[in-house]
Point group: C4
Chain length 198, copies 4
Amino acid sequence: MNKSRVEAFTDAVIAIILTIMILEFKTPESSKLSAITPQIPYMVSYAVGWLFIGIAWYNHHYMFSKAKVITRKIFWTNNFWMFTTSFIPVATAWVGRDLNAQGPEIFYAIVYFTWSLAYAILTHVIAKENERAGYEKVAGSIRDMKIYRALTSWKFVGAELIVWVLIIVFMPALQMLLIAFQVLFVGGRVNEDSDKMF
Amino acid sequence: MNKSRVEAFTDAVIAIILTIMILEFKTPESSKLSAITPQIPYMVSYAVGWLFIGIAWYNHHYMFSKAKVITRKIFWTNNFWMFTTSFIPVATAWVGRDLNAQGPEIFYAIVYFTWSLAYAILTHVIAKENERAGYEKVAGSIRDMKIYRALTSWKFVGAELIVWVLIIVFMPALQMLLIAFQVLFVGGRVNEDSDKMF
Amino acid sequence: MNKSRVEAFTDAVIAIILTIMILEFKTPESSKLSAITPQIPYMVSYAVGWLFIGIAWYNHHYMFSKAKVITRKIFWTNNFWMFTTSFIPVATAWVGRDLNAQGPEIFYAIVYFTWSLAYAILTHVIAKENERAGYEKVAGSIRDMKIYRALTSWKFVGAELIVWVLIIVFMPALQMLLIAFQVLFVGGRVNEDSDKMF
Amino acid sequence: MNKSRVEAFTDAVIAIILTIMILEFKTPESSKLSAITPQIPYMVSYAVGWLFIGIAWYNHHYMFSKAKVITRKIFWTNNFWMFTTSFIPVATAWVGRDLNAQGPEIFYAIVYFTWSLAYAILTHVIAKENERAGYEKVAGSIRDMKIYRALTSWKFVGAELIVWVLIIVFMPALQMLLIAFQVLFVGGRVNEDSDKMF
């Protein structure tokens, strides 16, 4: 497939997902400055959502830059991944109404884990398809990404699940903090060569 | 015309159509997890819409990659096709309120058939214009696309119409399943060379 | 300036303006097929808006393809033109509630004439700046565009104003028809070389 | 990083931020032309917002055109800058309800100053990273931008703060005028070479 067109399409979709989150930021009816305070929880979840999608885009950009071939299979897993990403604005909006409510936080967690699964599958498929096409080195550096190694480590995923259940049972609001933390320390720690690629 | 600019414009329009469908996913007022259940029908129609537009984009990308010339006529049929595509979010939203209601399902069917017609015309025009410009081989492989052969086969279209009428009369909800099925087995079976193009 | 980045930015803005018009298409609360009929007037104005912006994009694409230099001045007039274009969805939405109401049709006419003015200025500036940079031929073919010649002919503009006043006083609904007609026969008749450019 | 993909992503995000502002322009329920008058304050703040983001894009485009390397650090400050930009539609919408109300104008001022800070940081980081990579001349011309020199001059920022406090205390509506003025005379006065770059 035409790699740059798939990239452009993905960029447009991700940019829209990122930006429509601001539509949920309701301007107050009143003209008092204090009328904005009920929006503060949403501002928190919005910032987390932005950080999340920003890191996701960064890692996606790295993988696609490395990839030599984009096959139909990659296209479809990429589409599925964008589909799961499209639920982040919904989860962000719901959580933003009450950061400590269990319902929305469980929904957010479901979106987060589905998204992680989709991302792991996407990475796996890109690596596999490039390996099959003879680009072992490309496949290697894609599989070497911190986020992929975390998502495919049973220790990491197991620990995550335990922490997540504890948090949602005892203090749902912590989830936003945890996600921001993970995003920065797992997703944000990209391969050394990502700056030197071009 | 400038092919890459037409592609970029089309990509942006399709990406927006795809993504605004999530705006219809209303976050519940309540904070109970169960408050999300009324959104399940929409989640079904949303998934079908995403699949549908994803396949459409894939086939469109294939055609445009093959095409050597983009003429004014292609631009206009492409615009008409995007116009019909823009009704998918509307039909998806309406159907998503009640998957088994006849009214919305008939509206969806109208959108679906108009869209199919527009797509068939677009394929026809791209092939024709490229043929006229001396690219018979390009025209040939565009006309050879499974989706085009289905849409221009009277047997296929006739059978479709019968099935559609039966479904809408007796069990409207089946339409979503049928579309997902068609999308996967007709639109999804692209030419063998689509992976090897670049 | 970087022409391709200005083009990409403009394409994104125009694509969004085009696509958000569908958001105004409200899905009915009821599940009866007949519940969609109140949307028919909007469907008319939506189709006209789509045609209008489609032609505008086509002509814009032609001008920018021809232009050799994109200066700061062109950027600003282009921005102003996009600003006026952004009112088309508003005018389309209002007119779509009642095609024969005078208020919305006057508002649409104001948007239409402001848009035309902005478009004429943009064409003038692109031609002028390219002429100054030594590309007389480019300037010539840009000034030769049918839409520009119409917009700068006092006879044409004078006749338009008279027709417009008559229509809005006696039968506002005709405006949509008139715009569709103009779009097709003025905006749609582009220079002969537009197909052969690339 | 892949500069053109970061640019394309940024363009898409900025284009969406720019365009969703029109969604706040509510079409009147009534069909009287006078029913549009309550929208006039919004039209003012919308025009200012458009001018503001337009200038921002222009300056951003200049910096990125000059930059030879785009590092991870630049990506993150760019993301943060886009995040602050995404609040402009919110501030614009609120201010547009009542141009002379103190609450919304204070909110707008907060957004404006945060945005300015983010922009100054972005400029600083781009210059620094390009300097480190050995492109002193690039760093020089980026740091030479009028908008950056203003934002890093304590005299300018100090004078701004005083004027701003006076305005918000005594006549909040003036803020829109002041921003338009600044945008034109600070942001709009770009380096001489910006037209000759390509």
